[in-house]
């Protein structure tokens, strides 16, 4: 039967430069493994530096075309990818459902094949249905697929930027070089060894949570999921995590608390009695925030529901990290695009 893995060793010329993992697509964090993640974080360091320049642009992907194929509204993620592609000098095309023939009965496959016929090198796919990037990858002959978030499944670049934000923030605090750079290239020491991360909220429906669990644990972190039973996946067999329903017991043990956005529609599915009850039992209120150790990071993939999963004043207190997540998002996506589509052009050029 078919394999779930999307990582295909490819002899096509669009693999990354020497020394880089020859990934054809980025569909799941599990395609990367710890070494692949560490490598992307190292390349991200370079692009963070590029982003700080007066003209934050390198010619690495000149002549390449990247399409953002967004079937679901997400201006933030789309702009982050498109900015990343432009800073690498790629041509960018935006495909959004509203202005296309998809709404007029054209099949997903027709759309994808039409776009590939335009001569493109990479597609960032965002879709409300889990697994769509896998299907798209199966229909394309040449272009690389980057999963920009699929249904309740995965959002690998979000997880990479979360890893980047955590590792670099922790190591900057420790006054050391970024841990990714210090990491033992043989893989014995991992960037998040000994770091304890709590992910709080609607794990069941969260693609961010699924990718974060894979990425954080690959880098050695201990992960604890904190949620009411209705907002956990029906089965956690094979997930290397702990589970708690007691946020107050967990908070003092954490280095990082990662809050997920709670969607209003969960109330209609009998998953929760009310937002108010959720906030009362699982929200990061001001009082609960005091249970965190002083240097614990508060993170959120955005957009934040102030007063629901996080109290407004706690969100303000955490805003520096949340803003850094957004900034790092561009650099991480530059690294991903470069590794998938680049041909080894000197980044210093």
């Amino acid at each position: 039967m078919r394999s779930a893995t999307s990582l295909r060793q490819s002899s096509a010329p669009n693999v990354a430069g020497p020394g880089h993992t020859p990934l054809r697509h980025l569909l799941s964090v599990s395609d990367l493994g710890a070494d692949g993640i560490e490598e992307i974080l190292r390349v991200t360091d370079t692009f963070v530096e590029v982003s700080g320049r007066a003209i934050p642009k390198v010619p690495a992907l000149r002549g390449k075309t990247v399409v953002s194929l967004f079937f679901e509204d997400s201006t933030r993620t789309r702009l982050s990818f498109e900015t990343a592609a432009r800073r690498l000098s790629a041509d960018v095309m935006t495909f959004s459902v509203s202005g296309s023939s998809v709404g007029k009965g054209e099949s997903l496959r027709d759309t994808v094949e039409t776009i590939e016929a335009m001569g493109i090198d990479g597609v960032v796919v965002r879709h409300g249905g889990s697994g769509v990037p896998w299907q798209v990858a199966g229909w394309l002959h040449q272009a690389a697929v980057i999963n920009g978030g699929d249904g309740s499944h995965e959002h690998p670049t979000q997880a990479l930027l979360d890893c980047y934000t955590i590792t670099r923030t922790l190591s900057a605090r420790a006054g050391a070089r970024p841990t990714g750079l210090a990491a033992d290239p043989t893989g014995r020491g991992r960037s998040l060894d000994g770091v304890r991360i709590g992910i709080v909220g609607d794990i069941r429906h969260s693609r961010v949570a699924r990718s974060d669990v894979l990425a954080f644990t690959a880098l050695g972190a201990q992960v604890v999921l904190v949620a009411p039973p209705t907002l956990l996946p029906p089965s956690l067999v094979g997930w290397p995590v702990q589970v708690s329903h007691d946020i107050e017991a967990v908070l003092p043990t954490l280095d990082v608390v990662y809050l997920l956005r709670l969607q209003q529609e969960r109330m209609h599915e009998a998953l929760l009695p009310s937002l108010r009850e959720y906030t009362a039992t699982y929200g990061l209120t001001r009082d609960r925030a005091r249970l965190l150790s002083e240097d614990a990071l508060i993170m959120h993939p955005g957009p934040v529901n102030r007063g629901v999963e996080i109290a407004a004043e706690v969100a303000d207190q955490a805003s520096s990290v949340i803003t850094r997540q957004v900034a790092n998002g561009v650099a991480v996506r530059m690294a991903v695009l470069y590794l998938l589509l680049g041909s080894g052009v000197d980044l210093a050029a």
Binding site: M1, G129, Q135, W239
Partner: protein, 399 residues
């Protein structure tokens, strides 16, 4: 059938002689669960293409499911499908809907359809959700000598689920439907069967819990029968891991333990029949996101081979599950008979050892959604004889 035996003394001139060397001559197979899609969805299958597909699979009779458009819920539609089946490559029996439009609210004219020979009624595609209505349907049917068949799925518990709920659905981020969505309705209908005494046939059972309940019900003497599909006896929910929509089916592919229970149920007689649930869908409709693709797989041309390859049962037992046991449930008196002079010559000649690779592009079905594409299977139909006419010879449909 003129005569039966290993030696035929003389044949009249012009007699077609079929080579059955190394083969098993068996009664033609009978499928209790075929979606022929006509009327309404002719781009995916017709009575003609579906019956050709069936003949190639060794079937001499199929029961056409009523979830067509319009649904087979009246004498007129029953007649229409029976007429379409008149010249088909296998006999086409019709299952009628239990409720008007399969909407689950008002009883369909069961007696009117029974008068045309309909023996099986079902709202397949969904289960009858309303327990009171199902009770009334069973009571009403008890005087008609027919069987009601249920697609067991509690729609409130299954709602929004696109695969089996469990380890794989959790990992893949696809909303699932729990085994209990099927089991709740099995449990309810066993109770209603006890209450009314009317026979109930359980369609495509897929969970260990359902099969355990059926085993108990049979032991207590309830008039129940059950079927399982080739895919539920061979494939698990892990198949969905690559998001290939060919593996989307309802009831969904379940766990290893459920597959083992289906096999055990077939081995010990808890499950009476292997039925295909042949459900053709166009390529375009299957090329949709997993949560939007229609559920269903084709199966007529692979069912026998999957059963022979996957089941650790003697070939006669496999044929029993595919031929005379389903013929008895469907009330098809001309099929699944022992091969003796005087009986209608509805036969299939099986080469039980031949290995072949499934290639949907070479199937007679109008659709290609086979989950067994590319798999090597053992055992294949060489010839099919329908009422004395060789409709399939050496694996080729004759018309």
């Amino acid at each position: 059938m003129v005569s039966a035996g290993n030696r035929v003394e003389s044949t009249p001139a012009g007699t077609v002689v079929l080579d059955a060397g190394g083969c098993l001559v068996a009664p033609g197979l009978v499928d209790l669960h075929t979606h022929l899609r006509e009327p309404g969805r002719e781009e995916t299958e017709t009575v003609e293409t579906g019956s050709r597909s069936a003949a190639l699979g060794g079937y001499t009779a199929v029961v056409a499911m009523p979830n067509t458009d319009p649904a087979i819920d009246s004498a007129a539609t029953v007649r229409q499908v029976l007429d379409l089946g008149r010249d088909a490559l296998c006999d086409v029996a019709v299952a009628g809907a239990i409720t008007i439009g399969r909407a689950g609210t008002r009883l369909a004219p069961l007696a009117e359809m029974a008068a045309l020979g309909v023996k099986l009624f079902t709202d397949d595609g969904s289960g009858v959700q309303d327990a009171r209505l199902m009770r009334r349907a069973l009571e009403y049917a008890s005087s008609l000598g027919v069987t009601l068949a249920q697609h067991c799925e509690d729609s409130s518990l299954a709602a929004g689920g696109h695969m089996h709920e469990g380890e794989w659905s959790s990992r893949l981020g696809i909303p699932g439907q729990p085994a209990e969505a099927e089991e709740l309705m099995v449990m309810r209908d066993l109770a209603l069967c006890r209450l009314t005494g009317t026979p109930v046939h359980f369609l495509h059972l897929s969970t260990a819990g359902s099969i355990a309940m059926l085993r108990g019900a049979k032991a207590s003497g309830l008039p129940v029968t059950a079927e399982a599909t080739p895919h539920h006896l061979s494939l698990t929910d892990e198949c969905v891991a690559g998001y290939d929509t060919v593996y989307k089916v309802n009831p969904p592919l379940r766990t290893e333990a459920d597959v083992a229970a289906v096999r055990a149920g077939l081995a010990d007689g808890t499950i009476d029949a292997i039925a295909t649930d042949h459900a053709p869908h166009s390529q375009e409709s299957k090329e949709a996101p997993f949560d939007q693709a229609p559920p269903g797989m084709i199966g007529l041309e692979t069912a026998l081979a999957v059963a022979l390859t996957e089941l650790d049962l003697p070939v006669e037992r496999v044929v029993a599950l595919l031929s005379w046991q389903p013929a008895a449930i469907a009330g098809l008196s001309e099929h699944g008979l022992s091969i003796t002079a005087g009986a209608p010559a509805n036969l299939c000649i099986i080469d039980p050892e031949i290995e072949w690779t499934v290639d949907p592009s070479r199937m007679a079905s109008r659709s290609r959604n086979s989950p067994f594409a590319g798999r090597t299977l053992r055992g294949r139909v060489r010839h099919t004889v329908l009422a004395g006419e060789p409709v399939v010879v050496n694996g080729q449909a004759q018309r």
